[in-house]
């Protein structure tokens, strides 16, 4: 089964906002065998919204829109698409009551007049409940079974409504009508860290241009280089078999540089490894300024493993809070092997954890010297008193350098737990 997507909003068309909803919808529908065959983006212009939805309905008969359901005057999706189906707008009492209750409970005030239009819906439609926000979604269908589902544009609300309501509905509908799965494209992603694209290509050899006829893409980013193998025009089970075989062959060549697959996050992987070993972690951060702690604590359930840490941005706090010796700072500087080691050990002892991690570097744009240019970073791990440090020259701007530093120290801990060779510092092709 195919469907089309129409994303609505001046902010998308003008380039103020990047359309992340479209990618999310494509991935979620692919997983249930529905292909998004085409996508249109239009501004908040009623005539153009109507034209785009009309054309998509005519071509494909199944359309999802995002955006234009909120309480403000630039939100025009519902009446415009309602009119395409010949429906007038009516006030829905149940939605109004729910909105009023929500406001009273949440803000202690009556529903503002401007929000009442959220309770207006096209006559004879199906309301898609929104458990993640106030704007309900709408499903409209004509007597030939052609339909439009309108979702909110706020990504969190859109994603929630998609999972709760729309995906199950479309799946049921496919089953009821015996609709066939589209020739969906499936993929497998292997995530590598701390190895350059060109070094990966060398390791892969002939596989770099494709694995058993499947295309292989190199996708570099701040986490490292992702390797994605893709297959289409093959039934689901056979596709999965071929993807698994391709992944096995890649794994054989790339080995320990692969830390995960699909959307795996290095911080979550390291926390899980700590959990298996009953280890606890604390962090001492200079140039990363809290980013490593933030990555750990963005993982639900991290509180039994991650104990906290010190952001020792100023040198005085390295001495006072972490016990780095003033002599070390004077002799070797804040960005040095010695300081990184004392930071890792200091925070481990202070917080009484199994592991201490440290990051100290020159994030730029200022502060570089010929000996220690911008991008120079030292990271260290102290695991039960055994301290290892490594230096890296990070490419990228200030925030890329900071993020890559967290990825490096996490990878060092991952390797130590797996008794793998320690990774070298991050290197990139450019």
């Amino acid at each position: 089964m195919d469907l089309e997507l129409v994303t609505i909003g001046d902010e998308l068309l003008l380039g103020f906002t990047i359309d992340t909803n479209a990618a999310h919808l494509a991935r979620e529908f692919a997983a249930i065998g529905v292909r998004i065959s085409r996508r249109s983006t239009v501004g908040d212009n009623p005539e153009i919204i109507a034209a785009a939805v009309r054309e998509a309905l005519h071509r494909t008969g199944a359309v999802i829109t995002t955006g234009g359901l909120g309480p403000t005057a630039d939100d025009r999706t519902k009446p415009v698409i309602g009119a395409l189906f010949g429906r007038s707008m009516v006030l829905d009492d149940a939605i109004l009551v729910a909105l009023e209750q929500r406001w009273l409970k949440r803000f202690g005030v009556a529903l503002p007049v401007s929000n009442r239009q959220q309770a207006m819906i096209p006559s004879n439609c199906t309301v898609l409940n929104n458990h993640h926000g106030s704007a309900p979604g709408i499903w409209l269908e004509d007597d030939q079974g052609r339909w439009v589902a309108m979702l909110p544009g706020v990504p969190r609300e859109m994603r929630g409504m998609l999972a709760d309501t729309l995906l199950p509905r479309v799946r049921d509908r496919m089953q009821a009508r015996g609709a066939t799965e589209s020739t969906v494209v499936r993929s497998r992603t292997l995530r590598t860290a701390n190895i350059a694209e060109s070094a990966l290509a060398d390791r892969l050899g002939p596989l770099a241009t494709g694995v058993n006829g499947l295309s292989l893409a190199f996708l570099p980013g701040n986490d490292g280089v992702d390797l994605r193998v893709t297959i289409s025009d093959v039934p689901a089970r056979e596709a999965e078999r071929q993807l698994s075989e391709a992944a096995r062959q890649i794994q054989e060549k790339v080995g320990s540089f692969i830390y995960g697959s699909e959307n795996d996050d290095m911080a979550a992987i390291v926390l899980a490894l700590c959990g298996e070993r009953g280890a606890t972690v604390a962090v001492a951060e200079s140039c990363s300024g809290g980013l490593l702690g933030s990555r750990f604590t963005s993982v639900p359930g991290s509180s039994t493993i991650f104990m906290g840490g010190v952001i020792s941005y100023h040198n005085a706090s390295k001495v006072r809070e972490l016990g780095v010796s003033p002599e070390t700072l004077a002799q070797f500087g804040a960005v040095s092997e010695q300081t990184s080691r004392e930071m890792a050990s200091g925070v481990r002892q202070r917080f009484g954890t199994t592991v201490g991690l440290s990051i100290t570097g020159i994030a730029g744009p200022g502060g570089g010297t010929p000996e220690k240019p911008v991008g120079t970073v030292w990271v260290a791990t102290d695991i039960d008193g055994e301290v290892q440090a490594v230096k890296a020259a990070m490419p990228g701007d200030r925030n890329e350098m900071r993020y890559r530093s967290t990825q490096l120290v996490l990878d060092r801990l991952r390797r130590a737990f797996h008794a793998l060779p320690a990774s070298a510092g991050w290197t990139a092709d450019d």
Copy 2:
């Protein structure tokens, strides 16, 4: 002048890649007075590519495509669009020689056969040189002056070719034909924090639906709600005057909820305010886990103002590192006004700074209780010993809640420095 954009590639349609080219093109063309009126995204399917380009040509007469110019077999843009214009494909000797030289120089090998197709172009076209990669762009035009410009999909190559070749060409063409620059879209964004979309609408009253005839968009996000006023069909200077006047009227109604404009970052604004006052800052973070420190340190030059802080994720570290009293924790809990106040004061005294900021909350998904549900957060500011705390019920998932908590405490400090009324806790429409 209007044009349409057709972005081509399975990876875009499947959601593997987020389409950043579209936003870049929209902004660059807006700056020379060209509006992108509609955007379509299609996969690597020749029939659908042809249909999308044909329809866009029919509607608007000016089309830019991105993608599908590379050497791989899924790149079909040139022959498909050539056929729309009735052109056959011919080998271009100059491109072939350039490709051969590039390969020899760059890789030390002869041009692979698979790359020869990059030298095939539609007959009677204009080649747009690519100084940033190997695939040249193509300009095709019919005898009625309708045109398609084909750009590569790799963002770096697309951006280079756009700036070097296509933008000047379109600008010259507009001048030669007397096309009006009237459709230029300009905008002004005012950033608000800690106020709900609907409360903004109520404050704005009639302005919510437009300011002096200019459209006003409400753009909610984790930073708060951005208000963007947009103008088109007006010459540059007059547009700027009208935007300034609209911004003034909005400012009058929304007042201190506006913390900045365009891409201003609250952390950078607060750092600047500290700098003006010679103030220094330290942070005590529980549920935010380093995110506040990370925001401060992502701002270049923050090291003279931001001294560091403590990530007191575990309760023991709140006592040990920040001096929170065990009795406070036992009596009121870690997420309480009292604890937030002692955290802010503790870190300020410890780091010897002017300001101490603290965040403690329940980020979820676990850990909520009926009295303190997930999303409950206390933030506190200690400025020279004067401590203020506020509670908020944050909407959103774990990471949205954490980010919004940092935005709230930063906004509290901003307001304190400006002697503005303290903001209440974050509220959203949902």
